[in-house]
């Protein structure tokens, strides 16, 4: 017996949910942040070592003292920049993870077998899962489908800032 088109669609959604979940897990397992922290820590360690050595040798040599000052300042600046970069990277990972979570949840709803076709996920329910700029993406896609006026409304928050919202 041939599987029904509905069964095929649900299976495809389940597969896509698993694929996106795998991409999310890859993002989470990325070692960049950890590596940046380790480099920053190594630089701090080296700066400390240079300072200890300098107390023994620098005072007698003005040229060496100048080079020591420049090295310690550069080390400190790079270490701070690495920490800032690691922080930014951690936040971007977090954002990517949450966006992927939203897609996984939506696809899992579409793959659910206990709801009749067409009632598994509405645009409004999908929009309720958004955490950031997905509203803008939703609006752009709805426009391509010629649904902008019917399904995506601009909600004014009262402070003059238009905010994307999904209409009924």
């Amino acid at each position: 017996m041939q599987p029904s088109p509905d069964h095929d669609e649900r299976l495809i959604c389940a597969v896509l949910a698993a694929q996106v979940a795998a991409i999310r897990d890859h993002v989470e397992a990325d070692a960049t942040v950890d590596l940046l922290w380790r480099i920053a820590d190594a630089l701090t360690l080296l700066s400390g070592l240079v300072t200890e050595l300098a107390t023994l040798h620098v005072a007698a040599d003005p040229v060496l003292e100048q080079r020591y000052d420049a090295a310690v300042a550069a080390g400190s600046e790079v270490s701070q920049s690495l920490d800032a970069l690691a922080f930014e990277q951690a936040q971007r990972h977090d954002l990517a993870r949450q966006k992927a979570d939203c897609v996984v949840a939506a696809l899992q709803r579409l793959a659910a077998t206990d709801a009749p076709q067409g009632s598994r996920l509405s645009q409004k329910e999908l929009a309720a899962m958004y955490i950031s700029d997905e509203h803008a993406v939703h609006k752009a896609v709805a426009r391509r489908f010629g649904e902008a006026g019917a399904s995506v409304a601009v909600v004014n928050d009262g402070a003059g800032t238009p905010q994307e919202g999904i209409g009924p």
């Binding site: 922290w37 800032a84 922080f87 951690a90 977090d94 954002l95 955490i131 509203h135 905010q163």
Partner: protein, 123 residues
């Protein structure tokens, strides 16, 4: 030394925030979600400031803020929301729950520390 309670379900975010705050001279306590954060407050933890994410399992940031405001020890403790949420509706919801400040990810360490400084009680 001011103690800051950090709540985020991302272990990398918690570690990253802890590094920045410790390097700036703060003591840091952490929790993986609102439920763990609320349990720490109920257990007697009295942070000088709370930094919380919004989207967390078990208990989300809004529910945690309401819980913290019900606790006499943290009724007036500054609470900063640090979140990927950029919508003004969520921001209003957080403010109504009792949040004192709002930062949208990604933010920079300097902006985070400046916001903390603004909200921390003067010594």
């Amino acid at each position: 030394m001011p103690a800051i309670l950090v709540l985020d379900d991302s272990a990398t975010m918690v570690m990253s925030l802890s590094r920045i705050l410790k390097k700036a001279g703060y003591e840091v306590e952490t929790a993986a979600d609102g439920k763990e954060g609320a349990a720490k407050l109920a257990g007697g933890l009295k942070p000088t400031l709370i930094l919380t994410d919004l989207n967390m399992p078990a208990m989300d940031g809004i529910a945690f803020i309401k819980e913290a405001r019900r606790n006499a020890a943290t009724r007036f403790t500054p609470i900063i929301v640090l979140t990927t949420e950029s919508g003004t509706l969520k921001r209003d919801e957080a403010r109504a729950a009792g949040a004192s400040g709002w930062l949208t990810k990604p933010t920079e360490p300097a902006e985070l520390l400046a916001t903390l400084k603004q909200l921390l009680p003067a010594k």
